[in-house]
């Protein structure tokens, strides 16, 4: 990724350097060649439509090339590949909190294995922040009230700067951290050295039970709420006839503002959990709901939590 960005950057540097050089050379040459001499009149030239067209359409053509090239990179930057490992991130004034799928939690340090796609799912507890790792050429603002996503694949072990790039108050410049990229074996060691509390999805499962979600969201069709098995990532038909995709943001919204997008065939009876669950707990719940749709070949370290009676999902009824 960084290579792609740099390739375009260097192309632009050469192009713009050439343009600057061309224009500056012309100005200097004209300034010397046509400097004022006593009694010599300027030669009047009205302008030239041919020239105007030339320097309208040639730059425009070049701009289009840059646009397409850069858009292609942006598309890659914004489209995480399938099967990426997921790290949930909560930003707050002024720190970064990370939750790994395997259950590890860390602050201002993010350990990742080399060569693996990492999808960072981020939200903010307060103001807007921005997740910026210059070495990976990625940046994504982190907003309160929703998830935004960034992804990267580190290619070289090492420690890289993590900066907050969106001004977020007093210690904005102190909201920095490190992304530590490790060899896979080392990374496994690091994972082993940490938490014994179980995976993030397991934490979510615990919350799902203790918060009483499971009383309505049963794993059959008898619940007062929709069965969540296999829902994640699929289209959902809503009561008002719209269809939305059940992504992280939809699950999140359905927990915090249950009445916003009610699934077709259900009543808006669910109470809001706004203020009752922290951002970290919300992440765990989302991770759990997501795990209900994962094929048995789940990510290493993430046990498949599909309920034993796993039925076909009934979303559209």
């Amino acid at each position: 990724m960084a290579g792609n960005v740099d390739a375009l950057f260097i192309f632009l540097l050469m192009l713009c350097g050439f343009m600057c050089l061309a224009i500056f050379t012309m100005i200097v040459v004209f300034a010397i060649r046509y400097r004022r001499r006593a009694g010599q009149m300027a030669e009047q030239i009205e302008g030239s439509n041919a020239l105007e067209f030339t320097w309208t359409f040639i730059p425009f053509g070049i701009f289009l090339v840059i646009f397409v090239w850069a858009a292609f990179i942006y598309f890659q930057e914004r489209t995480p590949p399938q099967g990426a490992a997921e790290v949930y991130t909560v930003a707050k004034q002024w720190m970064w909190k990370f939750q790994h799928e395997e259950g590890q939690r860390e602050i201002n340090e993010l350990h990742v294995p080399v060569g693996r796609d990492i999808r960072v799912i981020m939200t903010s507890q307060d103001v807007i922040h921005s997740f910026y790792v210059p070495a990976f050429r990625i940046k994504q603002d982190v907003l309160p009230g929703r998830y935004t996503v960034a992804w990267f694949r580190a290619t070289k072990p090492g420690t890289y700067h993590l900066f907050c790039a969106e001004y977020c108050g007093t210690m904005h410049s102190g909201m920095i951290g490190d992304v530590v990229v490790m060899e896979p074996a080392q990374y496994q060691n690091w994972l082993g050295g940490g938490a014994a509390m179980g995976s993030l999805a397991q934490t979510g499962q615990g919350l799902f039970m203790s918060l009483g979600c499971s009383t309505c969201h049963r794993f059959d069709t008898q619940g007062r709420g929709p069965n969540l098995t296999g829902v994640f990532g699929k289209p959902v038909l809503l009561e008002d006839g719209r269809t939305v995709t059940a992504d992280e943001n939809y699950i999140r919204e359905s927990i915090l503002q249950p009445a916003a997008k009610v699934v077709s065939g259900f009543k808006p009876i669910m109470p809001t959990f706004q203020g009752l669950v922290s951002e970290e707990q919300l992440n765990a719940l989302v991770a759990y709901v997501k795990s209900l749709s994962q094929p048995p070949t789940g990510v290493a370290g993430t046990p498949n939590l599909k309920p034993p009676n796993g039925q076909k999902p009934e979303i559209n009824r």
């Binding site: 632009l12 942006y74 410049s173």
Partner: protein, 545 residues
């Protein structure tokens, strides 16, 4: 005149017609109002500049050691707000535009002279609110007022600052309105649209943006104030609001505002270049059309400030493409200025040095804009020093340089005196060098990943920051020089005749300084703009000064 009491019977002009504070504060003469603005914005320029100097001093070392973090945040916030809203936006339209637009089209004054005075009073009320904000502890939202930081998380004078900008905005709207009506209704006989000087075209295009864009900013800031005072929840996600909505609204004005700040500068350069090359501007119609195109397209590119803010992929694609559209007319202008020099008779007087500086720096500012409009690259360099450098190349390298060029060019007309040419050239050179030393290293800093608005930073960025701070001190000297010699020249400068540059344009056909109603009788225009061939055939090419 019989009423003259000064020993030397000086010709009556707008400066000596009346004396006394009242004759200034109640004046409806566009030229006197222009001078009122000149004093006010110069005052704010030095306040904003002082903040900038403190910022650069803090950044001399990686540690946050000169000022507290909160103080630093206030410094860059107030530097931005003062410079953008109280210097750059009014600079050329309200000072040079106010002075020159009516004269250039052969009118006695603007269409609504009293509204013009009202504009200045609104500006002053806004300015006083800003001073109140500064003196009572300041504000630290960043000049962009981003929510929910500004609405829920700060307890500084956000409402006062928003109100200051809100009020000053109305001054801008009224100036714009005045210019539009004036250009439509008050042109002298024969002054057709295609004979208008490009400076008038630029101010006309600017006025359109001021009238259409500024109300959106007013609404946005009003919402910020209401949200703070009454907790409406428009930008608060917990109440179903959307913090991104603020960014859309803010940039809907603030991107076009960039063109409010640069178009008049382009207008100035389009006057200076023909005069000091003794040529008709190359491609007059393309130049006028480009100005209007920039004003219109400028309204369609706001979300290019938000490529990483959480807008959709496809919104990103659309706004990137539209941003390349607006780059085209800017490129056209650079090519035409350059082509105007071809086979000219080029003089290196101070205004022309500034024009050279403008074309060079604006070109670099514009070309680095291509980097930022390129989606994949913007993701890396947005919100870093790359952006800071880019917009300072446009705002300072472009607008401030053009403004200074214009001030030197029209100073004989405004004051009736010549500035000292040697000091003028020296200052122009110092500013050019100081500017590049200040801001060029910031492009590199940004690419290396230094985020903007950082009070303390990683030590590897220090060398470039030291260079930048060194440049800023040179730049400060460069700005003080014209202050000093302009003041000096008001008393000791050589008296200027009506047309010291042998320039085309109606403003050079009236006395220096002009009389209150500009012309003894309404001029009838029978020539095209920039008719330097006719002027030089009649009077010969002016000798190098």
């Amino acid at each position: 005149m019989a009423t003259a009491v000064v020993p030397l019977p000086e010709r009556e002009n707008y400066l000596n017609k009346e004396y006394g504070i009242k004759s200034w504060l109640l004046t409806t003469d566009h030229k006197r109002i222009a001078l009122l603005y000149l004093l006010s914005i110069t005052f704010f320029f030095f306040i904003g500049g002082f903040f900038a100097l403190l910022i650069r001093l803090e950044l001399l070392t990686p540690a946050g050691d000169l000022v507290q973090a909160d103080t630093y945040n206030k410094l860059f916030t107030m530097h931005g707000q003062v410079m953008v809203f109280f210097f750059l936006i009014p600079a050329v339209p309200a000072v040079l535009g106010n002075f020159l637009v009516p004269i250039m089209i052969g009118a006695k004054d603007l269409a609504f002279p009293r509204v013009n005075l009202l504009s200045w009073y609104l500006f002053i009320i806004g300015g006083l609110l800003m001073l109140y904000t500064i003196l009572t502890g300041g504000v630290d939202t960043g000049w962009t007022f981003y929510t929910p930081l500004s609405t829920q998380f700060l307890d500084t004078h956000v409402v006062a600052a928003a109100l200051a900008v809100f009020v000053a905005g109305f001054s801008s709207i009224l100036t714009g309105l005045n210019f539009i009506v004036t250009v439509h209704r008050m042109r002298a006989p024969g002054m057709t649209w295609s004979r208008l000087p490009l400076f008038v075209w630029s101010n006309y295009a600017t006025a359109i943006i001021q009238v259409l864009g500024t109300p959106v900013l007013a609404i946005t800031l009003m919402l910020v104030a209401l949200e703070r005072l009454f907790h409406l929840g428009i930008f608060n996600p917990q109440m179903g609001g959307d913090p991104l909505l603020f960014q859309h609204l803010f940039w809907f004005y603030s991107h076009p505002a960039v063109y409010i700040m640069i178009l008049p500068g382009m207008g100035i350069v389009s006057e200076i270049v023909p005069c000091f090359t003794r040529k008709r501007i190359f491609g007059y119609h393309a130049m006028a059309l480009a100005v209007i195109a920039i004003a219109v397209l400028g309204f369609l590119v706001w979300a290019h400030h938000m490529f990483v803010a959480g807008i959709s992929l496809y919104a990103g694609l659309a706004f990137s493409l539209l941003s390349y559209f607006v780059a085209v007319p800017s490129a056209i202008k650079v090519f035409n200025w350059t082509a105007t020099m071809y086979k000219g008779s080029i003089s290196f007087a101070t205004p022309m040095l500034y024009a050279f500086g403008f074309i060079g720096l604006f070109t670099m500012g514009g070309l680095t804009g291509l980097f930022l409009a390129a989606l994949g690259i913007d993701v890396h360099v947005t919100d870093t020093y790359f952006v800071i450098a880019h917009f300072h190349y446009i705002m300072v390298g472009g607008m401030v340089i053009a403004y200074l060029g214009g001030m030197h060019f029209w100073w004989p007309k405004i004051s009736g005196r010549m500035y000292p040419e040697f000091w003028g050239k020296l200052a122009a050179m110092i500013i050019f060098i100081g500017f590049n030393l200040t801001f060029f290293p910031q492009f590199v800093l940004g690419y290396l990943g230094m985020p903007r608005r950082y009070w303390q930073y990683s030590p590897e960025f220090q060398i470039l920051n030291v260079l930048s701070t060194a440049g800023a001190t040179i730049l400060a000297v460069g700005y003080l020089l014209p202050m000093v010699y302009f003041l000096w020249s008001m008393r000791y400068g050589k008296l200027a005749d009506e047309n010291p540059w042998g320039a085309a344009g109606l403003e050079w056909m009236t006395s220096s300084p002009p009389t209150t109603f500009n012309f003894d009788e309404t001029p009838i225009v029978t020539w095209e703009a920039y008719n330097y061939d006719e002027i030089d055939r009649e009077k010969g090419v002016p000798v190098e000064r």
